[in-house]
Every structure is written in structure tokens, then in C-alpha cells.
């Protein structure tokens, strides 16, 4: 298979040695893998710290070229319900592994997206297929995984990557891709990435797709363009008395970000506390917001109800609410 043009794939570490940071985890996982036998694993840690990469390195080490045949990747937040997960696991586990390792590996990403009930079902599935399959579960917080599963897994905690780790990784890419990049630009990328190495790599590639010369300004532009549009601007227009502009902006944001009326209500309810209005107005607006949330449930067209809310903000802006 040709090398991918997508840098998160192109520069994804394929051996334990290439992994940046996570020294403790790497050391222990490597020794487990070298023994050609692993227990079920639970990887806990923030996004973009190397959990999926670690799983891929494990299967590549275990199976070499045959890793694809012996590896199933599932995403708990995408699969519709635990039954789909079980069905896929069943189909995959039915055939024996290829090669000298006696089991196959199933990677279940975002396992903490499963409800506790679904996790119970998952636990039984893990037991049923334990002779032929090993599970690697990944999650952001191990506390969201039920105890019976935790006790069946070897748990590895992935730390947020340190700035120096991300810097090292980005510099490697910049060198390979002939990019000019200043330390300030690296700082900007790191800020924007929030310690997520995948996101850092994506920001770098998005910026590089505009210019080989990575400047802090360019990075900032890319990051700010990617930020979801804020609901605050809608409220500001309403408070200033411009109803039409407020509702047009609201529609734009809802359509652009594909967010529901209920999501908008939630955001508005939180934003009320940041508005430059008197405390009693905040209470009145909150009351109105609650009423509108109720009406959205009752009514048929959420946008009409949100318009009614904006009209209340217009009155509040005039000091008439």
C-alpha cells in the first residue's frame, strides 16, 4: 500500500521506538507484546495521545504483514448500539487467527461512549470470545468504564503529551516535508492542539497546504477559521435591537454548524451569565429561555420558538422586559 498523503497516517509511528512521550506505557506494552501474548488491554487518556497508534503497533508487531486479517477496529460512538458491536465481533471471531499468534485483536475505540448496560453486554462478549480474541478498549476516562471490565484488563494511562514531545514530532514532519517553521509557529500550533498530537499534525498540514513557510499568523488564521461560530454574536444583535440580523445570524450558525434548536438553547442559557445586563434581567431571560426550551419540546418548529426568545432579548435590550 502506498504511503498516505495524510500526515497523521504518513507519520504515524509504526514501531515502539518511534513513539514520542508515553515512555512508561511504551516500555510495558512492548514487553507484553514481545512475549507474543497479551491480556485484554484498556487504554485511558485524552484524544491524540497515541492510543490507536499503540494498538496498531501491537498488531503490526504480532502479525507483521498479516495484521489486517487479524485486526478489527470498531468505534463505540459510531456503531449504533451494542448489538451491532456484538454482531461484528461475532463475525470477526468466528474464523481463526492467521499466523503463529493464537488470537485476533479487536480494538474498540471510545468504549466510554457505551452505557453501563451496554458495557455489561460487552463484558459477556469479551468472555465468550476470550479464547480467540483479545480486546483493546480505549477511553478518555477509565472511571467511565464499569469495574468488571476494568478488572479483566491491563490498564494503561496515556498522559497528555508534553510540549517538547509535540514539538519533536512536528519538527520531524517539517524536516521531511521541507517546511520552514519558526518556534513561534510551533507554539501557536501547540496552543491550538490542546496537547492533541493528531490535531497538531492536522493544523500543520492545513497550514502547509497554503504555504511551505509556516508563520504564526498563518497558523492563527487556520485555527480561528476552524472555530465553531459563537452564539454570542446573535445575542448581541438582539440586545442592540436588530431582530432581523439576529435571526439571520442564528439561522446561519445553526445550518453551518448543523446544531439543533435544543443545542442552541443550551448555549444561550449558559451565555446569559456573560451578558452585560442587570442581574434581575439575567433571571428574567433565563426564565424565558426555560419557557422556550419547553415550547421547543411542545411545538413543531424549533426555529420559530428561538425567534420568540430573540424577541425577548430585543425587549430586554430596550429595558422593556
Amino acid at each position: 500500500m502506498a504511503v498516505s498523503e495524510i500526515w497523521t497516517e504518513k507519520y504515524r509511528p509504526s514501531t515502539f521506538e518511534e513513539v514520542v512521550g508515553q515512555e512508561e506505557v511504551v516500555k510495558r506494552v512492548k514487553s507484553l507484546t514481545d512475549s507474543l501474548n497479551i491480556p485484554h488491554l484498556l487504554f485511558a487518556g485524552p484524544a491524540g495521545t497515541g492510543k490507536s497508534t499503540m494498538a496498531l503497533i501491537i498488531v503490526k508487531t504480532l502479525y507483521g504483514d498479516k495484521w489486517r486479517e487479524n485486526y478489527l477496529e470498531l468505534n463505540a460512538s459510531d456503531e449504533r448500539g451494542i448489538n451491532i458491536v456484538r454482531e461484528k465481533v461475532k463475525n470477526f471471531a468466528r474464523t481463526k487467527s492467521i499466523g503463529e499468534v493464537s488470537f485476533k485483536v479487536i480494538f474498540l475505540d471510545e468504549a466510554d461512549a457505551l452505557t453501563p448496560e451496554a458495557q455489561q453486554a460487552l463484558r459477556r462478549t469479551m468472555e465468550n470470545y476470550s479464547s480467540t480474541c483479545r480486546f483493546i478498549l480505549s477511553c478518555n476516562y477509565s472511571s467511565k468504564i464499569i469495574d468488571p471490565i476494568q478488572s479483566r484488563c491491563a490498564i494503561f494511562r496515556f498522559k497528555l503529551l508534553e510540549k517538547k514531545d509535540i514539538e519533536k514530532y512536528l519538527m520531524k514532519i517539517a524536516e521531511a516535508e521541507n517546511l520552514t517553521i519558526s518556534p513561534e509557529a510551533i507554539d501557536e500550533i501547540y496552543e491550538g492542539s490542546e496537547g492533541d498530537c493528531r490535531r497538531a499534525t492536522n493544523i500543520l498540514q492545513a497550514t502547509a497546504s497554503i504555504s511551505q513557510n509556516i508563520t504564526p499568523e498563518l497558523v492563527r488564521t487556520i485555527i480561528s477559521n476552524a472555530k465553531p461560530k459563537d452564539i454570542r454574536v446573535v445575542l448581541d444583535y438582539a440586545l442592540a435591537g436588530d431582530f432581523r440580523e439576529a435571526k439571520d445570524k442564528l439561522l446561519d450558525i445553526m445550518l453551518k454548524e448543523s446544531i439543533s434548536g435544543q443545542d442552541v438553547i443550551k448555549a444561550i442559557q449558559k451565555e446569559i451569565w456573560n451578558l452585560p445586563v442587570e442581574p434581575e434581567i439575567k433571571v428574567k431571560l433565563t426564565e424565558k429561555t426555560g419557557e422556550i426550551e419547553f415550547r421547543i419540546v411542545e411545538g413543531s418548529d424549533p426555529f420559530i420558538q428561538l425567534e420568540a426568545l430573540l424577541a425577548s432579548f430585543v425587549l430586554a435590550g430596550l429595558g422593556k422586559e
Partner: protein, 394 residues
């Protein structure tokens, strides 16, 4: 004026679908009285509306001949025949014009009318001018003799496409728009008869002129404008309660029109009150849907009409240019886009080992990467639609 006359071809080139016949008629006239064995008449046989008479007309025109049309009854009218057949010499020299004799629908000569047929045969023998005969069916025994003395050409039926194209050409020249489905069905119904098709088209065009799509759209809007004006401008009156009964517009549409135009008419408190009414109307609409309890429609209607009308302090004057509601269209377009975005995110997510939801969250940056790199587009097997989506997204 009948379109069959108005758009009758005046040149051979304009005749649709009868190239072979046209060629034979040209040769017939060109060779007339020049070759020793040339026949003096040509018989064009074919179904109605395939262009027999038209070909005769055009032949006269293109060869600069004067056309004399005879029908079956003329054949027994000695004087008329003589007039046609024995032209005065000075007339000929004066205009310097030859003649072409057309005898239309010879199969109309009845079997009893032996005299007519005999006269026809005599005419063909003695004529100094080329004769064109037309007929629908010529295989009757009584025409055996006639077929022998005539050159014989059979016209083919026009096919569906030839008819349809001709109809479209006519509409273009008339500057009319008629739904293509209607044109197709006229063409199909004609079964090869172009004249019938053109007549049908003209009839339908007359009806459509009144019922023209754009026009009817305008009428609809006028009735909507009337409703908006009554609600927004006039004093609230009880008659408002039936205002939606007198329009064919669905209530859903009216709802959107009112929503779109409240801010055009009302400001501040009036606006807030009117939108509150809209909100209440929507609540009852939701209850109707969820509980299928249609009596709630009364409340939806009252809030939407009287309620919004009563939101103003006093009647309003002046003209307001009402706006066409765009929200539903915008939502529809956004949904189309969201579908494409999701498909791209799915392809990407699977490829780079992440969940689709995460790919969607990170989409603004991912989009920048994919957009500017054709190799990645190939890698992810994006189709043209998906690539087009990325390109037009800012």
C-alpha cells in the same frame, strides 16, 4: 392564425423527416418534359400529417411555378379543367411562370365517380405541366391504372423525436414555455401525424397561456400578499378567522410567509407580541402533530391571524414589500451539504482510524487538508460531488 399554416415550411430544407421524397419530387420536376420516358405525374402516398401537400407547395415555390390546386369535384368541371390546362400563351409569357398542378387526396374520388377518375387519367396524359397527386391509401383496385401512369412515392410516418423537436421549435418561435412532459405526450399521442400534433399544441398553448406556470405563481403570491396585508395592516376583525379559507396556499406556506414578514411590519413590543403569537400557533401545531388532535387547528389559526393582527397598537398605512420566505430552502440546501460533509467524514474517519463524530468535530481543519490535495482526494476515493462540495465551502 393556425400554426399549421404559420409554420408550414417554405423551403425543402425545412421539411422534417422526408428527405427521400423531397429528392424524388425535385428530380421529377427537374426532368419534366426533358427526358422522353419521364412520367407526367407523381403520386405521394402516406398517412395524414406527413407533409404531402406541403411538399407540393414547396416544390412550386422553389421552382418558381404557379400552383393550381384541384379537388375531386373540379375534375368533372370542364371549364375549370380547361382553364388550368390550357393557359393563354400571353399569360405564360407575361409572368414567365410555369405551372404545377396539385390534386390533393385523390383517394377521395369515390368508386362510383368513374367519370372523375377517367378525367384524371386524361388530364395526366395531356398535361403540359407537372402534376402532383396526394393520397392516404392508394392500394384500392380502382387506382391500378393511376399507379401505372404516375411515379409513385410513399412517405414515411414521422417519428416521435422529429415531431417533438418540431413542436419545441415552434414554441421557441412563439416565445412560449410549456412543460416538456406535455410536449412529449402531445408528440406521442400524434402517432406520426405532425399536423395533428401542431394543432394539439396550439390548443394547449391557448389554455396554458392563461394557466401559465409563472402567471399562476404570481396569482398565488397576490393572494398571499392580500392575506399579509389584511393581517398586518388592518384593524383586527372577526372576518380574519376565516382568512385562510379563501386561498389554495397550504397553511404551512402561509405560516412561513407570516414569520418572514413580521419584522418587516412590526418593531419592538409589537414585534415581540406578534412573535409570541407565532410561537403559540406553533405550539398548537406541534400538539396537532403529536396527538393527531385536529381540533387544535382552531387555536393555531386564531393566533396566526387575529392574534398577530391584534399585536399592533393601531392600523398601519403605506406599502410594504413583502419578502419571500427563504428559510425552508436554506435548510434544505444546508441538509444537502451536511449529507456530503458526513460522507466525506466517514471516508476519512475509517481511513485514519478515528470515529466519525470526531472527524466531524475536526472537519474545518481536515477540510483544508483534503481540499488542497488531489492525491488525498484520490486516496479517500471521494466522488465528484464530494470534491465539488469541498471546493465551494469557504
Amino acid at each position: 392564425m393556425l400554426w399549421v399554416e404559420k409554420y408550414r415550411p417554405s423551403k425543402f430544407l425545412e421539411i422534417v423527416g422526408q428527405e427521400e421524397t423531397v429528392q424524388k419530387v425535385r428530380e421529377f420536376i427537374g426532368n419534366f418534359n426533358k427526358l422522353p420516358k419521364a412520367k407526367k405525374a407523381i403520386l405521394l402516398a402516406g398517412p395524414p400529417g406527413t407533409g404531402k401537400t406541403t411538399i407540393a407547395y414547396v416544390a412550386a415555390k422553389e421552382n418558381d411555378l404557379e400552383l393550381f390546386e384541384l379537388n375531386a369535384s373540379d375534375l368533372r368541371n370542364k371549364n375549370k379543367l380547361d382553364e388550368v390546362l390550357k393557359p393563354s400563351m400571353n399569360q405564360q409569357s407575361f409572368f414567365n411562370k410555369g405551372k404545377l398542378i396539385l390534386i390533393d387526396e385523390v383517394d377521395g374520388i369515390s368508386a362510383v365517380d368513374r367519370g372523375g377518375l377517367t378525367e384524371l387519367l386524361r388530364l395526366i396524359k395531356t398535361t403540359n405541366y407537372p402534376v402532383i397527386l396526394t393520397a392516404n391509401k392508394i392500394w384500392d383496385k380502382k387506382f391500378n391504372e393511376l399507379r401505372k401512369v404516375c411515379e409513385f412515392v410513399e412517405l414515411k410516418e414521422l417519428n416521435y423525436k422529429e415531431i417533438k423537436d418540431t413542436l419545441i421549435q415552434i414554441l421557441k418561435k412563439e416565445g412560449l414555455f410549456i412543460n416538456i412532459d406535455i410536449i412529449s405526450s402531445i408528440a406521442a399521442k400524434a402517432k406520426g401525424d405532425l399536423r395533428a400534433a401542431i394543432n394539439d399544441l396550439q390548443t394547449i398553448a391557448k389554455v396554458e397561456e392563461i394557466n401559465h406556470e409563472e402567471l399562476s405563481e404570481r396569482n398565488k403570491e397576490e393572494s398571499i400578499f392580500q392575506i399579509l396585508k389584511t393581517i398586518f395592516k388592518d384593524k383586527p376583525r372577526e372576518e380574519l378567522l376565516n382568512i385562510f379559507d379563501f386561498t389554495s396556499e397550504p397553511l404551512e406556506r402561509i405560516f412561513l410567509w407570516i414569520e418572514e414578514n413580521i419584522p418587516e411590519e412590526y418593531k419592538e413590543e409589537e414585534l415581540a407580541r406578534a412573535i409570541e403569537m407565532l410561537s403559540k400557533a406553533d405550539i398548537f401545531r406541534g400538539r396537532i402533530y403529536k396527538q393527531q388532535y385536529w381540533r387544535f387547528l382552531v387555536y393555531e389559526n386564531i393566533f396566526l391571524s387575529y392574534g398577530i393582527s391584534a399585536s399592533k397598537r393601531q392600523p398601519k398605512q403605506g406599502f410594504t414589500k413583502y419578502k419571500n420566505p427563504m428559510r425552508v430552502l436554506k435548510m434544505w440546501m444546508a441538509n444537502q451539504k451536511a449529507e456530503k460533509k458526513k460522507k466525506i467524514a466517514e471516508k476519512y474517519a475509517q481511513y485514519v482510524h478515528i470515529g466519525v463524530k470526531r472527524a466531524l468535530r475536526e472537519f474545518p481543519i481536515i477540510k483544508e487538508i483534503i481540499k488542497n490535495n488531489e492525491k488525498i482526494q484520490e486516496e479517500l476515493r471521494l466522488d465528484e460531488d464530494e470534491i465539488a462540495y469541498l471546493m465551494e465551502e469557504k
